[in-house]
Subunit: 216 residues, 2 copies
């Protein structure tokens, strides 16, 4: 019996990261889920992440605190209204958080190095979030290249890091169909950026709209 | 009168980052200093960073909380003893924090984007810390390339980010001579990784040894 390879999987608790975790598991990785308590308004997503980590039998689930609120610049962490009714074509939405995936992947990289994991999964998607620069394939490749110059483990020649973004070219429907085929019950996930005071999804933010259109 | 260009400067409160801030200031940048409360044992360095930011008239000084302790893997954040008496040749010291500069530069990048700054200064040095992979020129270049694919500001063509590592090829003596020529009083800085219970430098960790050899 061989030891399973370990993977660090970024897990927000939403549809995409949950599917990415299911794919990593299908591919035979022992999964270490990592979530971020970054000052997001929709902190309720961390509860979903914990449910998902349990349901998909992640080996561990780590929640790292990083205060992106102190940096500002986003409707997700500042007191800027989350827009409703979809984003204008060609514009990057105000829900974009500056350098968020870079910060999250960097923390995942640090944990991967500690765990001896060479594989990192991120649910980045270039189709529905085409406005987010850090969800594009060329960005993921550049991060991977940098990661392999950044760490003790890689420069000592023990291996090389690979950043997997298995959903990057899928539509939301394809993502959800893939997840369902892997047994995901999406009712345990969370998407909304701007929950109601009662803790329910708003049904009107970009993330709710994409989820509803996708049929989750 | 033109508006001065803004720069985000990573500031630990040690000799190198203080000199890097002085160089950024000399070069005409309006400096935004950023420090990290990351679970380091030598948290006292944040007080030095605040003194330095004031003395060198940084426009702002932001301290971002990021819990690297939860990731582990380093004598600087874990309950592993900080070694004394110098590191063995060719080995990366246990004081290496996995992906630390990547995490710090990512957070600096996010703040730079919010501020409209295109220049980021880091006091990385490849000579005295030759064991740290994320202090090498090829790493800095790979980060810069990734940064220009990561952010809304850069992909919208508003400019491009530059990561400045002005000390990267200097010896500690050269760094200190440069800083003194720019008026730095190094007595306000802090280097020690493993302060005594009374809050004094231990005089024996790598960082103390390098500082003492450099004559600061």
């Amino acid at each position: 019996m061989t030891t399973p390879r370990r993977a660090v999987v970024l897990l927000s608790g939403g549809v995409d990261s949950t599917t990415s975790l299911a794919i990593a598991k299908r591919d035979g990785y022992e999964c270490y889920a990592i979530s971020f308590d970054y000052g997001q308004r929709h902190r309720v997503e961390l509860e979903a992440a914990a449910r998902v980590a349990t349901a998909l039998q992640a080996k561990r689930h780590l929640v790292v605190k990083v205060d992106l609120r102190s940096i500002g610049g986003s409707a997700l962490t500042d007191s800027i209204d989350v827009p409703t009714g979809g984003s204008p074509e060609g514009l990057i939405p105000i829900t974009y958080v500056p350098a968020r995936n870079t910060v999250f992947l960097s923390l995942a990289l640090g944990w991967a190095e500690v765990l001896g994991a060479w594989d990192i999964f991120i649910g980045a998607n270039a189709v529905d979030y085409s406005g987010y620069p850090d969800c594009r394939p060329e960005y993921i490749e550049a991060f991977e290249r940098m990661a392999n110059l950044a760490t003790k483990a890689s420069i000592e020649g023990q291996g090389s890091f690979r950043i997997h973004a298995p959903l990057i070219r899928m539509t939301k429907q394809e993502i959800i169909a893939t997840g369902r085929s892997l047994g995901i019950d999406y009712s345990i996930t969370w998407s909304c950026y701007d929950p109601t005071p009662e803790g329910k999804p708003c049904g009107a933010c970009d993330s709710c709209i994409i989820r509803i259109r996708g049929g989750a």
